[in-house]
């Protein structure tokens, strides 16, 4: 499962708790209220475990975590830059 799918699954099952929910890669997660701030924190914990990437607090922004695509891009860049 690619990272975007993993993120979506986590949000749909663990955070939103609505297994049938359709979630687009560009859907606004935060401003829509679908994910709350604590949800982001949990998601970050999940991503760190999954990818081994360390996410510093300064990078936890809407730009990086506002959508599934944004997160994937952010993580991609992290992995590349090492």
């Amino acid at each position: 499962m690619d990272i975007k799918e993993q993120i979506k699954q986590f949000i749909i099952v663990e955070l939103a708790g609505q297994p049938g929910l359709a979630l687009g890669n560009d859907d606004d997660l935060l401003l829509s209220g679908l994910v709350d701030s604590l949800g982001v924190v949990r998601l970050i914990g999940f991503l760190e475990e999954q990818t081994g990437v360390n996410i510093p607090p300064g990078e936890i922004t809407i730009e990086n975590f506002g959508t599934v695509n944004a997160m994937a891009a952010y993580l991609g860049a992290k992995v590349v830059s090492g």
């Binding site: 663990e14 955070l15 401003l31 709350d36 701030s37 924190v41 949990r42 970050i44 914990g45 809407i62």
Partner: protein
């Protein structure tokens, strides 16, 4: 506090592990267990419906809700001491319907109901909620819901409400009854399980690590408005404030902006609120590290979002505020910090120890309540009035009603925030919010916190001081005008010689003409170094008349320092001195002039030369760079001050002032010019051998003046003197912090018939710029500095020149006509200290370096120096000046000078004890004969027999008893003061046996031991007498007052007992009060040796004086007279209506017989829970403080009398006096009664300078002293020289003044070898010296000054010696040869001279008394 922490530490982890509570629940449970009587965790909401409700349906809905919600059915039980939660299968509860419709005023009735209900405690084992529906009208209901925090949180409020609404809608048939709301509700037990298993996870371990790291170093406590809480309390007051729709909308808009918005709107707003609160806390506390707690609700899954229960973790945010932070830069820090915290605010991470990391809490509850069955109730979050006592302030922000305006709930700990301060605090917070909205890029330091009202009050109204004065005149104009008015009046006198105004004027003219001839022009400085004399007054006026500025140089200063000042003038200047001082100053580079060398000159007034803007004088004060700095004062400033002083202190009367203080201190300016422009007289007191201050004793003794200007140190010297012959009407006190206690004792010594003024002002603002008349009712520790004088402005500003709000410490700045021109030849320093006045264009402000703050009463409180300038003995000293002098010594590598406070206590091992009574040598005035018998025992031997006349036979008492019975007009014959001790117990038994109807009275001061109370009750019951425990709510205030005045608690209690007993007697119509004062107490207080010195000793006279003393005692102004009903005492009739009978004046019972009687008839038990033969636990506090402050045990004298009377064995007394006081208990009691232990610095005579240095080679204290005395005046010489291997440093590499060792009470390293005292006289002197110098060991050849003595302790020593030996040892002789051996020889000479004129018997007696 201490106890609580111990419980947490020892039990917390164990208990928590065994308990099935979540961590958060456990902490709440723990908090509640530690404060079982405080409803700290009552989470109360009320919902006001202006609509009709179906009560039945409402009740039914609640029952269904309880049945379906496990949280609401949860109870907490303690199983083997471990809290366990259990969900009850069912919890039958019918929601209470409170019908207030029948009340006259249902709204008021509801408020009363709510007030009582909100503090109702929950029974953990029974139910954790309390709810009711209150009906106020047909269509007016309030649903009251109170849940224990153990089962609810902010989010739960909403869940309970929504469920209730849904169930109600079903119950009234609005919605379909078939929808099963109930089964959709997840249980809290799931979260409990989740939290437990989560605690095993790696994520949790990581979070734990984060918190442990973060909170490993505590941040310093915040001082809110610079106020340290006295006693932590659970009592909190909630003050509610609406932020307002506009502010709320703007905050919301800003928090949505790019760069501010983060993750979601709630978090963004939260960050902004945290930032604002932090900025506010920073500004009111001055702290740069702010730690605040904040609850986060952990509902990570949608199911948990629907679960009722407590999900919060309270976590700490820690913010470092930088000096140059703006709102936006602080916000960036907050954004980062909140993300960190959020990340680790995971379930189960709360810990008791982490909770103590913060004292403030911010709670943003972002919840809006939807309609309830189509109605929109008004929701209120009701405060129980209690909170966690570690929380000084909680700010809760919410908008439950969705009004668009945030509601701010400030929960103030009532011990931290005074009532007026609470109001102001909210205003100050709003000022911060508005400043942010106004300009978010502005520095936090630039935000003005003052409210408009405060600004007007503190900046404008306070400073409206404009007053007319002759601004176009010089001081010489005013003096010449006075001379014209009263040419023949005495202007200045010294002993028998005096000059009239016209004589003084003529002589001053003669000098002025001469000086003009020498080239003196307006504003030119003329040095003047003269002792107090008529000449010096002539000289000052002569210089001024010539147009020059006089520059006083104390004649005791080393010539080196005089030269430094002369060099500052920049030209070869005139040095006016006296013939006998010429030799000392012969080496100076100056034109030395004495008045007797003037020759003939004119005596007419010279033509006026100086203008108001010319200099009148230059005073040199200590300068931090090592050089004294010359403060230049113009005529206009001097005239402004003196004109004001004349109006303030003289009230158009002609008054005489003494000239006794040094001319180089500006306080002396008042004593010279005030009389000279008003027709008064200056009475000159020469300083003896150059000792500053000593002549004040002469001033008082002679009683020849009306007004005295002096320092608190001077007052300390004279406080014990006899003022009966004085004509003093006014004391003007300046130069140093003036303690209320000192003012009170002086005022009392004058029977309050004296005006005492506290005048504040630096030299740079011409003598005085603030004034306050002392009020004996003053409760502050120091006499306030009061109001600005005429044409002066006072500001308290922060480092950015913002006026500080009420309660916050700032620096004092002075503006107005008194401001000096600046410092001579120091434009840099002048520019630094005299700045542009931002409040009054075109004027300047002087930066004082003094700290102060506004009290909520609108007064200015003076708080000491901001820098290293200190005041010792009234003199202003820059420690840096001494340090740079030390640094100039070739052997000294490093040095630092500080002020230390000497302790009075003598080490107990060095004490001598009377071989008969055990009186210790630290008792004031104690002396012992060669058999080691104390002076009191010896004196008692001599009058013991005569004293018997005071005592009366029992038959007289029996006659009195009959008189009492015959005159009874109520239920009782007498009130018996019944302390519960053996003496009063015996007394009461005897009164009962005599057939009297006795009402026994005991003061319950709140600290009577339980055993003693049981005794008292038992005795009263056995003797079948009525008994009253008297109490007063003012007890703590009385303790505090007594501690301040007498350093014990007993004096306060005694007076309270008498006062309450008299009022009781009046109320019951009883005419007699019988006391159980022991015979020892009679001797201690009434039958003192002085009484028997009068050969015509007469008992009636004693009784008369006791009655007079009793009247005065009860009429004295103190806390008791202010707090208790003392009206009755004002009338003399009272003392006839109610008579005091001292039982033991009649009854003489041997101790053995007394005990035997008690054993046989009365079940009296000696208390074992107080540690000594008294009943009172707080006694320990008095003993502790008395020993510490007065240096001896307050029971030393009473016990010595007990021993003398045979009521105690010597060993027993010594044993009881050798008590070990539990300091923890003492401190706890201090907190309880609200007593703050004063700093030892309260005693101005206890302050000393200490020099610490690192040096090479050999360097003794004598060497150091000798070296410094060549350059510095005596008052700047350190008392202690302490050599260190290195100076302690702070982490920043600065010298850590707090880590310097205390000067040891050992003999310092001196040039002279130690030789112990040998003769009795030498030994006695050594005791006196060691007390004054606070040194344990003194050799007879040691120089007093090299031991660290300065003139204040020297004067104390001479005063004591003269008192003790009845001689008049001249001060000058002591100063010439200040060693014990020399002093002892001088005393012997004087005594021999006295003895020569005596009969052999008298001489023998005198000599015996000295042995």
């Amino acid at each position: 506090m201490v106890i609580e922490k111990d419980i947490i530490k020892t039990n917390n982890s164990d208990l928590a592990a065994q308990s099935n509570l979540t961590r958060s629940q456990f902490l709440i449970w723990l908090g509640q267990t530690l404060a079982p009587d405080a409803p700290l965790y009552n989470m109360i909401q009320t919902f006001r419906f202006e609509a009709v409700l179906d009560v039945e349906a409402f009740q039914q809905s609640w029952a269904t809700l309880v049945a379906s919600s496990d949280a609401l059915r949860t109870i907490i039980e303690e199983v083997d001491g471990v809290p366990q939660q259990r969900v009850l299968d069912s919890l039958p509860y019918r929601l209470e319907w409170v019908d207030l419709r029948g009340e006259n005023d249902p709204v008021r009735a509801y408020q009363v109901w709510l007030e009582a209900r909100r503090t109702r405690l929950h029974d953990n084992g029974k139910r954790l909620f309390d709810t009711a529906l209150v009906q106020l009208g047909e269509a007016h209901f309030i649903w009251y819901l109170n849940q224990h925090h153990l089962i609810t949180d902010g989010w739960s409020f909403l869940l309970v409400y929504r469920r209730m609404a849904a169930l109600y809608e079903q119950a009234i048939g609005v919605t379909d009854a078939s929808t099963n709301i109930v089964t959709a509700m997840p249980g809290y037990v799931d979260y409990v399980r989740h939290e437990r298993s989560f605690r095993e996870s790696a994520a949790f371990a990581k979070a734990e690590g984060y918190w442990a790291d973060k909170l490993a170093t505590p941040t310093p406590s915040l001082t809110f408005y610079d106020r340290i809480p006295r006693t932590p309390t659970h009592r909190t007051e909630r003050m509610v404030c609406d932020l307002g729709a506009e502010r709320t909308a703007r905050l919301k808009a800003i928090s949505g902006e790019k760069g501010i918005q983060i993750l979601n709107a709630e978090l963004s707003m939260y960050n902004v609120l945290v930032m604002l609160f932090t900025a506010y806390l920073h500004r009111i506390s001055g702290s740069q590290q702010i730690t605040l707690g904040s609850p986060f609700h952990n509902r990570p899954t949608p199911a948990f979002k629907e679960t009722i229960g407590v999900f919060i973790e309270v976590c700490s945010l820690r913010l470092d505020v930088a000096e140059d932070d703006t709102f936006m830069s602080l916000l960036q820090k907050v954004m980062k910090e909140s993300l960190n915290v959020l990340r680790y605010a995971l379930p189960g991470t709360s810990r008791a120890e982490y909770n103590r990391a913060y004292e403030v809490l911010l709670n943003f509850v972002n919840v809006t309540f939807p309609p309830f069955a189509g109605m929109q109730p008004e929701i209120e979050w009701v405060h129980s009035g209690y909170g966690d006592r570690d929380h000084a302030l909680r700010l809760q922000i919410h908008d439950f009603n969705g009004t668009g305006s945030y509601k701010l709930h400030f929960d103030f700990n009532t011990q931290v925030f005074t009532e007026p301060q609470r109001e102001l605090a909210i205003q100050h917070f709003l000022r911060v919010v508005d400043a942010f909205l106004d300009n978010r890029e502005q520095p936090l330091q630039g935000v003005g916190l003052l409210t408009a009202d405060e600004h007007i009050r503190l900046v404008e109204t306070f400073n409206q001081t404009a007053a007319d004065y002759p601004a176009d005149k010089t001081i010489i104009h005013l003096f010449e005008a006075q001379t014209a008015r009263t040419p023949e009046a005495p202007a200045v006198s010294l002993g028998a010689t005096a000059l009239t105004y016209s004589e003084l004027n003529a002589q001053a003219n003669r000098l002025a003409h001469h000086l003009r001839g020498m080239g003196i022009r307006p504003g030119m400085p003329v040095a003047l170094s003269m002792e107090h004399s008529l000449e010096v007054v002539i000289a000052i006026l002569g210089v001024l008349k010539a147009g020059g500025a006089y520059v006083p140089i104390d004649p005791t200063y080393p010539p080196e320092r005089a030269q430094v000042i002369l060099d500052d003038f920049g030209q070869e200047s005139i040095f006016l001195t006296q013939a006998h001082l010429q030799a000392k100053f012969a080496g100076l580079k100056a034109r030395i002039l004495t008045q007797d060398s003037l020759g003939q000159s004119e005596t007419d007034d010279p033509s006026p030369a100086a203008k108001p803007e010319d200099l009148a004088y230059i005073l040199y004060t200590s300068g931090s760079t090592g050089k004294p700095k010359g403060v230049m004062i113009e005529h206009r400033s001097l005239v402004n001050y003196i004109w004001w002083a004349r109006g303030q202190y003289l009230d158009d009367q002609v008054r005489d002032f003494p000239l006794f203080s040094s001319l180089s201190f500006d306080l002396t300016v008042t004593s010279i010019f005030t009389p000279l422009i008003t027709g008064g007289q200056i009475v000159v007191y020469p300083e003896e051998s150059g000792v500053r201050g000593m002549s004040i004793l002469k001033v008082i003794e002679e009683g020849a003046v009306d007004v005295i200007k002096l320092t608190p140190a001077h007052l300390t010297l004279i406080r014990a003197m006899d003022f009966s012959r004085t004509r003093i009407k006014t004391f003007i006190v300046g130069g140093e912090d003036f303690k209320t206690e000192l003012a009170r004792s002086i005022s009392a010594a004058f029977n309050h018939q004296v005006a005492i003024y506290n005048e504040y002002g630096p030299t740079e603002a011409t003598v005085g710029c603030m004034i306050q008349r002392f009020d004996p009712a003053e409760s502050a520790l120091s006499v306030p500095v009061g109001l600005p004088v005429a044409n002066a402005q006072i500001y308290v500003l922060d480092a950015h020149l913002n006026p500080v709000p009420t309660g916050v410490i700032g620096e004092m700045y002075i503006g107005g006509d008194g401001l000096a021109r600046g410092y001579l030849n120091r434009p840099d320093l002048t520019a630094e200290r005299f700045i542009t006045n931002p409040f009054k264009a075109g004027t300047r402000l002087y930066k004082t370096g003094d700290l102060a703050r506004w009290t909520t009463g609108g007064k200015l409180e003076f708080l000491g120096r901001a820098d290293h300038q200190v005041k010792v003995g009234g003199a202003r000293i820059e420690l840096g000046e001494i340090e740079s002098r030390l640094a100039a010594h070739p052997q000294i590598k490093e040095s630092v000078v500080t002020v230390v406070h000497t302790h009075r206590a003598t080490p107990e091992g060095d004490l001598q004890y009377c071989t008969r009574c055990g009186l210790a040598s630290n008792f004031p005035g104690a002396s012992y004969d060669d058999q080691g018998v104390c002076h009191l025992c010896r004196a008692y031997d001599s009058y013991k027999d005569r004293a018997q006349a005071y005592f009366k036979p029992m038959t007289e008492l029996q006659a009195l008893f009959e008189q009492m019975k015959a005159g009874r007009n109520g239920d009782y014959d007498c009130v018996a003061l019944f302390s519960g001790g053996k003496d009063s117990t015996y007394m009461v038994a005897q009164l009962v046996a005599a057939g009297l109807k006795v009402l026994t009275f005991t003061l319950d001061n709140g600290y009577i031991s339980e055993q003693a109370k049981a005794n008292i009750r038992r005795v009263a019951a056995t003797l079948k007498v009525d008994h009253i425990f008297g109490k007063t709510p003012a007890m703590n205030a009385i303790f505090v007052d007594s501690l301040k005045q007498f350093a014990n608690v007993c004096n306060g209690c005694f007076k309270t007992i008498y006062t309450l007993a008299v009022n009781l007697a009046r109320e019951k119509g009883i005419r007699y009060i019988v006391t159980g004062l022991s015979r020892g107490q009679f001797f201690e207080t009434r039958l003192t040796p002085e009484v028997f010195q009068d050969p015509n000793f007469n008992v009636e006279e004693i009784d008369r004086s006791i009655l007079a003393a009793r009247k005065a005692y009860h009429r004295r102004d103190d806390v008791i007279s202010r707090e208790l009903d003392v009206d009755a005492f004002r009338s003399d009739a009272l003392f006839e209506d109610i008579q005091f009978i001292d039982f033991y004046r009649y009854c003489d019972v041997a101790l053995g017989d007394l005990y035997a009687f008690l054993d046989q008839y009365v079940p009296w038990v000696r208390p074992s829970d107080t540690g000594r033969s008294t009943n009172c636990l707080i006694n320990d506090l008095g003993i502790y403080l008395h020993k510490k402050q007065r240096g001896y045990h307050n029971y030393a004298l009473p016990y010595s009398w007990d021993v003398r009377m045979g009521h105690k064995q010597r060993d027993e007394a010594l044993d009881e006096l050798n008590d070990i006081i539990d300091e923890t208990q003492v401190k706890r009691m201090m907190q309880e009664i609200g007593y703050t232990e004063p700093n030892l610095s309260d005693d101005p005579s206890a302050k000393r300078l200490a020099a610490y240095y690192v040096a090479e080679g050999s360097l003794t204290s004598s060497d150091m002293r000798g070296y410094l005395s060549q350059h510095l005046p005596e008052f700047m010489l350190p008392s202690y020289f302490i050599r260190l291997d290195s100076l302690p440093l702070t982490r920043n590499g600065k010298i850590d003044r707090t880590a310097l060792p205390d000067p040891q009470a050992d003999r310092p390293e001196l040039a002279s070898a130690y030789q112990a005292p040998e003769t009795p006289l030498e030994t006695q002197l050594a005791v006196i010296w060691s007390k004054a110098l606070n040194l344990a060991q003194i050799g007879i050849h040691d120089n007093f000054f090299e031991l660290g003595g300065s003139s204040l302790p020297a004067i104390q020593v001479i005063y004591q010696v003269n008192q003790r030996f009845g001689i008049d040892l001249p001060v000058a002789r002591f100063f010439e040869n200040p060693t014990i051996s020399q002093m002892s020889a001088q005393i012997e000479d004087l005594l021999i001279a006295q003895v020569a004129g005596m009969s052999d018997d008298d001489a023998a007696r005198l000599l015996a008394s000295l042995q």
